[in-house]
């Protein structure tokens, strides 16, 4: 029988570094403390605006059509007609086949086009096919590429393979930013999530991202905290700022504000920027808009009043 890949000190077979093991109870407690912050009035409004500017407006369905993507881009360009002074979202995230459509629709707006690639969401395809997919997405105009790691390989302890894969995808990306999706819902323990974060950052990721959105649980607060701490440690070690993108399961403005508090407290003010923090979400924008209108008018809003 194969020995368990982890030794007593948390060192890993096949990995050239050690990741610290995570105190799950401590993480829960820290998250609970951070979630108890009360953000109201002007601060809340500011946080809501910041949240909007950090959203990757996403559609990743089998049924996505050119029309659906154009509709999403129209939404990205004008979030709410009644509030023309809102910031625009950070990016629109689509499948590679629809990158061209999004690129044309968003031309000159400053909104990035992000594309998932590498056989999203399962990542179960040969490497050359994954790399070709990345290249095609970048050629079509993707400014950002969201790749998935091969969770099967990672969980089997084949860290070298995972690292090589990320490095080759990074190379295939060229100038496009690379976000590495860990799919934390499939990694299990927080220790594995920390290890995958470290691995991705050392292999060339510009962003690390929690989830595909296809698996539950997705971006839970403890998972995000562990990843933020990995980013902090990486920054302290190398001086390189890695971005963070929680995705999936953040549908409420209140949750988004809690995430911002956690980022501020873990990584500092620098990361409160769309260049270093993103929300991958399809329904978050409308809840944020609802809260902004509520904050300005004093009247509770209905989802019926906001475009799809």
């Amino acid at each position: 029988m194969e020995p368990h890949p982890r030794t007593a000190h948390g060192a890993l077979r096949g990995a050239s570094f050690e990741s610290p093991s995570i105190d799950a109870v401590g993480v829960e407690e820290r998250v609970a403390r951070l979630c108890s912050r009360s953000i109201k009035k002007e601060a809340k409004l500011q946080a809501l605006h910041l949240t909007l500017s950090m959203i990757d407006l996403t559609t990743l369905e089998g049924a996505d059509s050119e029309g659906k993507v154009r509709q999403l881009c129209a939404k990205a360009l004008q979030l709410h007609a009644a509030l023309p002074d809102l910031p625009h979202v950070a990016a629109v995230c689509v499948y590679p086949a629809l990158v061209g459509v999004a690129k044309r629709a968003l031309e000159g707006s400053g909104i990035h086009v992000a594309s998932v690639a590498t056989s999203f969401p399962a990542g179960q395809a040969p490497l050359e096919i994954k790399l070709l997919e990345v290249k095609r997405a970048v050629e079509a105009g993707a400014d950002e590429v969201d790749m998935v790691i091969s969770r099967g390989r990672f969980l089997a302890g084949d860290y070298a393979c995972t690292a090589d894969e990320i490095a080759s995808v990074k190379e295939a990306c060229g100038d496009a930013h690379l976000k590495v999706i860990l799919e934390t819902g499939e990694l299990g323990a927080l220790d594995a999530i920390r290890r995958a974060s470290d691995l991705a950052m050392r292999s060339g990721a510009d962003f690390i991202k929690t989830s595909t959105g296809k698996i539950k649980p997705a971006a839970t607060m403890p998972v995000v905290l562990v990843m933020l701490e990995a980013i902090r440690d990486h920054y302290l070690r190398t001086g390189r700022r890695i971005g963070m993108k929680p995705a999936g399961g953040i549908g409420a403005a209140k949750d988004a504000i809690r995430h911002l508090v956690m980022v501020r407290e873990t990584l500092g003010q620098d990361w409160l920027d769309p260049d270093l923090y993103r929300f991958g979400a399809s329904s978050l924008a409308n809840d944020v808009l609802r809260q902004i209108v509520k904050q300005r008018s004093g009247i509770y809003q209905s989802f019926d009043d906001f475009s799809m």
């Binding site: 004093g298 009247i299 509770y300 809003q301 209905s302 989802f303 019926d304 009043d305």
Partner: protein, 349 residues
């Protein structure tokens, strides 16, 4: 075991402050300790009045038994989304008997509780409207069955207010019968109010009713019959409701939530909040996700100010100024909370 320790401490407090035959609250987290101690301090009166209301005189032997045991005092909470939470504000008001005797603590809900209740009602609305009319009727009848089974408890609660035992019994019976009345109408009002309309073109033209959506109800002073009479037609017609109980007798309404919860009524279809009208009515009336208001108030100023708030999304508003709810039942009460959909269906000439 911090929680266990907390509740143990509270229990000890109860035993210290209460004297012979008093009720005590032994469970719960330490955080609510103060309220619970408060509950225990006034527990004696509650015990006596409830026993009196049930028409039970404590015999000598029962008095001895009662002295040996601390009765369990009920925590009255609100009913939202099929659950019984406390107010998010943590505040409570004291329900008083007509002579000023404290009866119990009830939640004093805030506008955020209103917001949460509307969210629950909205989430439940499509599913409730999609039930067959027959099934809604079955469920309304089930509420009546459950109310009938707990009639003694409701009579006691009403008698602790200002009703005589006869009046209390009559009110519980009338409320039960009212539920049966609307249970019968669920699969019939459609036939009565729908129509096939003659038109001068090659169309088959018909109008049918559809539920308005989420209905905010300002419950009347009448603690049970009025509450049932205002709420039942709304849910009979496939709407979901947020009911504000702001009268001087909230306890029957809170307990009615328990009846609903054991009657196959899906969570969120009826949400019952207790508190103060001036805090809750304006946010509910202005809320853009509420489609209609039923204002059970005889005060024209209250109705007018709520109607002004209701203009934001053109809510349907029904004002019910009744003080005596004995005869307030009719299918028109259902139709008031319905929208008419007219369809033009092309046919050959």
């Amino acid at each position: 075991m911090a929680t266990g320790l907390g509740s143990f401490t509270v229990t000890c407090q109860c035993r210290t402050v209460s004297t012979g035959g008093r009720r005590a609250q032994a469970s719960g987290a330490g955080r609510h300790g103060l309220e619970r101690i408060e509950s225990c301090r006034r527990g004696g009166q509650t015990a006596e009045s409830e026993h009196a209301g049930q028409g039970t005189t404590l015999s000598e032997s029962r008095a001895v038994a009662a002295a040996k045991r601390l009765p369990v005092l009920k925590t009255h909470k609100v009913y939202v989304d099929g659950k019984f939470p406390r107010s998010e504000s943590g505040r409570f008001d004291r329900a008083l008997a007509p002579d000023g005797t404290p009866l119990a603590n009830v939640c004093r809900c805030s506008r955020k509780d209103v917001r949460d209740a509307v969210t629950a009602a909205r989430a439940a609305q499509a599913g409730w409207a999609a039930r067959t009319a027959y099934n809604r009727g079955q469920i309304l009848y089930r509420i009546a069955e459950m109310l009938e089974g707990r009639s003694a408890q409701f009579e006691a609660l009403l008698a602790a207010g200002n009703a005589t035992p006869d009046e209390a019994a009559a009110e519980v019976q009338a409320a039960t019968d009212r539920l049966v009345h609307y249970a019968g109408w669920t699969d019939k009002y459609g036939q009565v109010f729908s129509s096939v309309n003659p038109v001068a073109s090659s169309h088959f033209n018909f109008s049918i009713l559809e539920p308005t959506g989420v209905v905010g109800v300002l419950a009347p002073e009448s603690p049970l019959l009025g509450l049932v009479s205002a709420t039942a037609p709304a849910i009979a017609g496939g709407n979901t409701t947020v009911v504000l109980v702001t009268g001087s007798q909230p306890l029957p309404a809170v307990t009615f939530g328990e009846v609903l919860n054991s009657s196959d009524v899906p969570g969120g279809v009826v949400n019952i909040l207790t508190g103060r009208r001036e805090e809750m009515l304006a946010p509910l009336a202005a809320h853009r996700d509420v489609d209609a208001l039923v204002l059970c108030t005889a005060d024209p100023d209250v109705a007018r100010s709520a109607e002004i708030e209701a203009v934001h999304n053109l809510k349907r508003v029904a004002v019910r100024p009744h003080e005596d709810w004995t005869n307030v039942q009719s299918p028109y009460e259902i139709a008031d909370l319905q929208e008419v959909k007219t369809t033009w269906h092309p046919i050959g000439s």
